[in-house]
C-alpha cells in the first residue's frame, strides 16, 4: 500500500536490542527489545510496514517502520462485567434496603 507524503501515521522503532538492555531489568524484560511508537505526518511517499520518516507534533523528524495509517484509539469501556453489576446491586441494597429498584 503506497502512502502519500503528509499521511498521518504511527511508526515504530527499536531503541535497544535484546543484548543492549539495561542491567537493571529482570530476565523476561531483558529478552525482548526496547521499542517506541510515535505519530506524525509522512515526510515522503512511503509503504505500509516499510521504513519512513515522519514529522511529529513538536516538529521533530523521526524515522521508523510505518505500522498504522490514521491510527485509531482502541481503548473503550470494555465488555460487560457481571461483577460490577453485582457490586452495584450490593451497594444499593446495603444503603437503601433490599427492595430498591
Amino acid at each position: 500500500m503506497i502512502l502519500n507524503e503528509g499521511t498521518f501515521v504511527r511508526v515504530r522503532k527499536h531503541l535497544l536490542k535484546q543484548g543492549e538492555r539495561s542491567e537493571a531489568v529482570p530476565e523476561d524484560t531483558a529478552q525482548v527489545p526496547f521499542k517506541s511508537w510515535i505519530k506524525g505526518r509522512l515526510l515522503e511517499e512511503a509503504e505500509l510496514y516499510e521504513s519512513a520518516s515522519i514529522v511529529t507534533a513538536t516538529g521533530r523528524v523521526v524515522k521508523g517502520t510505518v505500522k498504522e495509517v490514521h491510527p485509531k484509539y482502541r481503548h473503550d469501556y470494555g465488555n460487560y462485567v457481571e461483577e460490577i453489576q453485582k457490586m452495584r446491586e450490593t451497594i444499593l441494597s446495603e444503603v437503601w434496603g433490599e427492595n430498591n429498584e
Binding site: 535497544l16 510515535i38 451497594i91
Partner: protein, 465 residues
C-alpha cells in the same frame, strides 16, 4: 544501530539534567549525605502567594470540598455506636485536565515559560502528562510526553492509552515505549536533543504546587466545620502528593491533623517486568512506587527530589485492588460522582478507617481524578479478565496481585493493612548505614525520617545488628 548510547547518556546525565531544570541543585548540597531541603523549597523562585496566584490565573485549584454523606452513612453501618467519622472528598477532578496534577504542572509550565524554554518534556504514564500537555497548550509551549505503555505483545493498559489520547488532544507529542526502566534514557536523550525544560514531578516548584491543596483542605474544613480535620489521607506513589499536601496543611496551622498515606497493594509484581506489566490493574498510586520512593526519594529524575513523604507521613496503609473498584462503584451510585479508580485508593482506605474514628471527627480524602474510556473500573476489570486475572468475590486478604482481583462481597469487607513505618525507616537507613555519619548527617536523617535523635540511633543500631 541503536538510537542512543546508555553509557554516554549516563556520563552526561548531570549536565543534561542541570540544563533542563533551570535550577542549580549544587547550591543546596553540603558535605555528607544530606542537603538543605527547606532552602531548596524556599529559594526555588516562588512563595506561597505566587503559587496561589499562578494557579488561580490558570483555572487550577479552589476545587470543591464535598461531604460524602451517603458514603459516610454507609461506613457508619459497620461502625460501633458513636463511631464513623465524616468523610470529605477534595474533588480534584474539577481541575483543568482532570486531576490534582494540574497544580504541579501549572508551576512547571510557569517556570519553563519564565526561563524562556521553547518546550517541555515529562516522563509519565499518569495524569501528570495530560496536566503538562494542557497547561503547555495554554501557554503556547511545545510538549513531549514519554510513556511506558506496551508489553512485548503490544498490549497496553487501557488507562495508559486513555492518558496518551488526552495528551494528544492537548496537542502534545506522545512517545510510547515498551516496558523497562530505559525510559529514563529516552527521556534524557530527548532533553539533550531538544533543549526543552524537564517538567519533573519532583522539582521544588512541582511539589510547592500541591501545598495549595493541603492549605485549601485545612482552611475550608475549619471554615465549614469550625475545626481542622483529624485526618487527611493521600493516595501515595512518588510521594509528592503527600509531601505537598502535608506542607500546605502545616502552613494553614493545622499541626494536629494526622497525615495518612494509602497505596494499592501490588506486592510481588516487578515494576520492570514485561510479564507483570499488564497483570496489574493500577498504573499508579500503588506500592510499586510508594515504597521505593519512600525508602529512596532521590531515585527520581532530578538530583534532589522535593517529594519526601517520610518527613510528613504519620501512618501508611495499603488496600487491595478489588476494594478500590468497589468504592469507585459506590462513589458513583451513592454520591453521583463518577471518578477514576486510581484516585479513589485513599477513599477505600478512608471508608475503613472512618469506622474506627468518632462520628464527630473528620477524615478528608484529598483527591479524585477524571474518568473516561479506559480509565474506569469496567474497562480495567474487562482487561484484567482478558489477561486471565481471576475476578472473584471474597475477603480482600485473599487477593494475590497478578493472579486475581478480589472484590468485597459487602462494604463491610473493605479493609486496610498498615505498613510498618519502622521497617520503611530501616530500609531507608540501610542505604546509608555503612557511611560515617557526621553531626549534620544525623540532623538530616532525623528530619528525613521525622524521628528524634535517640530513635535514630536505635534504628542505626538495629540496621547494624
Amino acid at each position: 544501530m541503536s538510537e542512543y548510547n546508555i553509557q554516554d547518556l549516563n556520563d552526561r546525565k548531570q549536565e543534561i539534567i542541570k540544563k533542563s531544570v533551570g535550577l542549580d541543585y549544587s547550591a543546596y548540597e553540603y558535605d555528607g549525605i544530606g542537603f538543605d531541603y527547606e532552602k531548596m523549597m524556599n529559594t526555588a523562585g516562588y512563595d506561597f502567594d505566587d503559587v496561589r496566584n499562578i494557579q488561580q490565573s490558570q483555572m487550577v485549584g479552589d476545587t470543591p470540598l464535598i461531604e460524602l454523606k451517603n458514603i459516610t452513612r454507609y461506613a457508619r453501618k459497620f461502625a460501633s455506636k458513636g463511631y464513623g467519622a465524616r468523610i470529605l472528598l477534595k474533588d480534584e477532578a474539577s481541575n483543568l485536565s482532570g486531576s490534582f496534577k494540574a497544580r504541579r504542572a501549572a508551576m512547571s509550565i510557569h517556570k519553563a515559560k519564565k526561563l524562556g524554554y521553547e518546550g517541555v518534556i515529562a516522563a509519565t504514564s499518569g495524569n501528570y502528562g495530560a496536566a503538562v500537555a494542557a497547561l503547555a497548550a495554554k501557554h503556547g509551549l511545545k510538549c513531549i510526553i514519554v510513556q511506558e505503555c506496551f508489553d512485548s505483545n503490544n498490549l497496553a493498559q487501557p488507562e495508559i492509552l486513555e492518558k496518551a489520547r488526552a495528551c494528544e488532544a492537548y496537542g502534545a507529542e506522545v512517545i510510547q515505549l515498551s516496558v523497562g526502566p530505559e525510559l529514563f534514557y529516552t527521556f534524557l536523550d530527548l532533553l539533550d536533543k531538544t533543549g526543552y525544560f524537564n517538567a519533573s514531578l519532583y522539582s521544588p516548584y512541582g511539589v510547592m504546587g500541591i501545598e495549595t491543596l493541603g492549605y485549601e483542605i485545612a482552611t475550608e474544613t475549619k471554615e465549614r466545620f469550625d475545626k481542622f480535620p483529624e485526618v487527611v489521607i493521600c493516595t501515595n506513589a512518588g510521594g509528592g502528593n503527600l509531601t505537598g499536601t502535608a506542607r500546605g496543611i502545616l502552613r494553614a496551622g493545622a499541626a494536629d491533623t494526622s497525615i495518612y498515606g494509602a497505596s494499592v497493594n501490588l506486592q510481588g509484581l516487578h515494576m520492570a517486568s514485561d510479564n507483570d506489566f499488564n497483570r496489574k490493574s493500577f498504573t499508579t498510586g500503588h506500592t510499586g512506587f510508594g515504597i521505593p520512593f519512600a525508602v529512596n526519594p532521590d531515585r527520581s529524575d532530578v538530583p534532589r527530589s522535593a517529594a519526601r513523604p517520610m518527613r510528613y507521613i504519620d501512618k501508611y496503609f495499603t488496600v487491595n485492588q478489588g476494594s478500590v473498584f468497589f468504592i469507585t462503584e459506590a462513589l458513583a451510585v451513592l454520591e453521583g460522582l463518577e471518578r477514576g479508580p486510581a484516585g479513589n485508593t485513599s477513599l477505600a482506605a478512608a471508608f475503613k478507617l472512618a469506622q474506627s474514628m468518632k462520628e464527630d471527627e473528620i477524615i478528608v480524602v484529598q483527591e479524585s481524578e477524571y474518568t473516561g474510556a479506559g480509565k474506569h473500573h469496567q474497562p480495567q476489570l474487562s482487561f484484567a479478565k482478558k489477561n486471565n486475572i481471576d475476578v472473584t468475590f471474597g475477603l480482600p486478604a485473599k487477593e494475590v496481585p497478578g493472579n486475581n482481583i478480589v472484590l468485597p462481597r459487602s462494604a463491610k469487607e473493605i479493609s486496610v493493612e498498615e505498613i510498618d513505618l519502622h521497617r520503611v525507616r530501616l530500609s531507608y537507613l540501610k542505604r546509608v548505614a555503612d557511611k560515617a555519619l557526621a553531626e549534620q548527617d544525623i540532623d538530616f536523617l532525623t528530619q528525613e525520617l521525622n524521628i528524634t535523635r535517640e530513635k535514630l540511633h536505635q534504628l542505626i543500631e538495629e540496621v547494624h545488628s
